[in-house]
């Protein structure tokens, strides 16, 4: 049971490619791999600790106001991440800009808190959060790698394609985000069918 809920998020029920959740940061910050990694880590942190608190409080919170309470908890952790980034990694904080506070409304986090953490015991909730978080993380890195390689010929700032390669600027621009994500989802569909 434990290992299954971990694997769910990693592949079979992947938050980005299968459930199409958390689209806003997925599309917005994946212009460079570094941004993708920082956003991924931020989401893992928030998801892990929100699931922890929500799972601990699952018997205390009245049903009708559960969403409001979960949102407050999530917003608190997001603010902590935001302050932490501003204090210790100002460059990252500037690059992610308004997409850090927008983690609050990332449907993956509220979705997992509501659908899983509020109904399961602590260890399961944490495994699920880790699975979903790491799944989201690799999804972001995959999308960002394609966009950075095709759009700038670099990965993590290092040039890997020869300078003669003419970058496909559209990949960095908003339309590229939609096009690459669409193609990646199609590839996932294909892989699933072969199985």
């Amino acid at each position: 049971m434990g290992s299954r809920s971990f694997k769910e998020g990693l592949w079979t029920n992947h938050p980005i490619f299968r459930q199409l959740l958390g689209m806003c940061p997925t599309l917005a910050v994946t212009t460079t791999v570094l941004n993708g990694i920082s956003m991924g880590l931020a989401v893992i942190f928030v998801l892990f600790f929100s699931s922890l608190v929500v799972s601990l409080l699952r018997k205390v919170v009245p049903y009708q106001v559960r969403i409001a309470v979960y949102t407050i908890i999530i917003a608190t952790f997001v603010t902590i991440v935001d302050i932490f980034l501003k204090a210790n990694f100002p460059q990252v904080s500037k690059a992610l800009g308004p997409y850090v506070p927008l983690i609050i409304v990332n449907c993956i986090i509220l979705g997992r808190c509501e659908a899983f953490a509020s109904k399961n015991k602590l260890s399961l909730a944490l495994l699920d959060a880790l699975g979903m978080g790491v799944g989201f993380f690799w999804g972001l890195v995959a999308l960002a790698s394609v966009r950075e390689i095709l759009g700038q010929g670099t990965i993590l700032g290092y040039r890997i394609l020869p300078p003669s390669f003419n970058p496909l600027v559209v990949m960095i621009l908003p339309p590229g985000a939609f096009l690459v994500l669409g193609s990646l989802v199609a590839i996932m569909n294909r892989l699933e069918r072969v199985k």
Binding site: P62, A68, I72, T79, I83, P90
Partner: protein, 190 residues
Amino acid sequence: MKDSLRYNLRVIFVLTFASLICGFVLSFVFNSAKAKIKENEKKDIYRAIYQIVDNCKNVKEKRINEETVYYLFKEKDELIGYAYLSQGQGYQGKIKILFAVDKSIERLLGIEIIESVETPGLGSRINEEDFKNQFKNLKTNVPVECVKFSPQKENQVQAITSATISSRAVVSILNKGIQSLKSLVKEDGK
């Protein structure tokens, strides 16, 4: 009736309690990080000043009309110029520019981009040296102009290819900043 009242009280209690704890935690975290955040901002500005004006040895901040002007000094406290932080709207978000001028406020010594969230690979190229170096030694008595092709006239800079909006934003933020710096220094001289 009594039950529903009890339920309502419980709801109110849980919500208030949750908000209180969260507010408390946040204020604690914020206060422990506040000094560091301030310091980061300051570090960026000072790094930019020393990068633009290499013979600057000492910087003094002065608050004039709620705004900060940086007075730049050589050895023996000889005033060589001023620096000022100007900000405005770019293509995607806020752009913050630090620029320095000589002590008579007639020539630009240079600019540095402190903060920008322009499109990587396009607008973000306002951070490149080639673009920023164009501003060195421009006049400040007439506004700087931004043109698409190589500059023909004085006081023009060339916009970055396919990032005209970001380049123009930098120029207009700069022009606005020069005007405010002039009036602030004048105010201070009175």
